[in-house]
Symmetry: C2
Subunit: 98 residues, 2 copies
């Protein structure tokens, strides 16, 4: 289990994750992805699910038609860790939106 | 586009959808499904996604690890229609929880 990031490490990580923002009132990061339609949105989710399963680190997410909202945090660490940063970069890559 | 269900039709439909409940403050129905792990939860979501795409009627849903929360409504009709009832039955069948 990786350690929680320090405030400096969080700031540094977010500086390299353009589309992501800290969640209000919670140590987690979130990003919204909007696609052309449900087919594209769920295709993206399937690719993220496979990546998450491989990392054994899973997103909290919701989907309404073409929109996917993703929140990342490491429950066992009580906040953000390197795992979240790594998964966020992978998700951006899978969405084609680095 | 099917018509909105009347109150009697809604009641009748819900009587045959044991796990589903009306959403507070909104004409929609919801159900929570809890699986063994993320693999089972997302496998279920993939099957629901294919069924939804075939019906051209899509759920609003969220997933956190082994839990999937699903809300159904027909946006274009401004409430519940026969499409939601049909998709709810299909989802129960795919979850193996009629």
């Amino acid at each position: 289990m990786p350690a929680r990031l320090s405030e400096d490490e969080r700031r540094e990580a977010l500086a390299h994750l353009a589309g992501w923002a800290l969640v209000e009132g919670r140590e987690a990061i979130q990003r919204r992805f909007v696609f052309k339609d449900f087919n594209e949105a769920f295709g993206f989710m399937a690719r993220v699910a496979l990546a998450a399963e491989r990392m054994n680190h899973h997103p909290e997410w919701s989907n309404v038609y073409k929109t996917v909202d993703i929140t990342l945090a490491t429950h066992d660490a009580g906040g953000l860790t390197e795992l979240d940063v790594k998964l966020a970069h992978k998700i951006d890559q899978l969405a084609g939106r680095p």
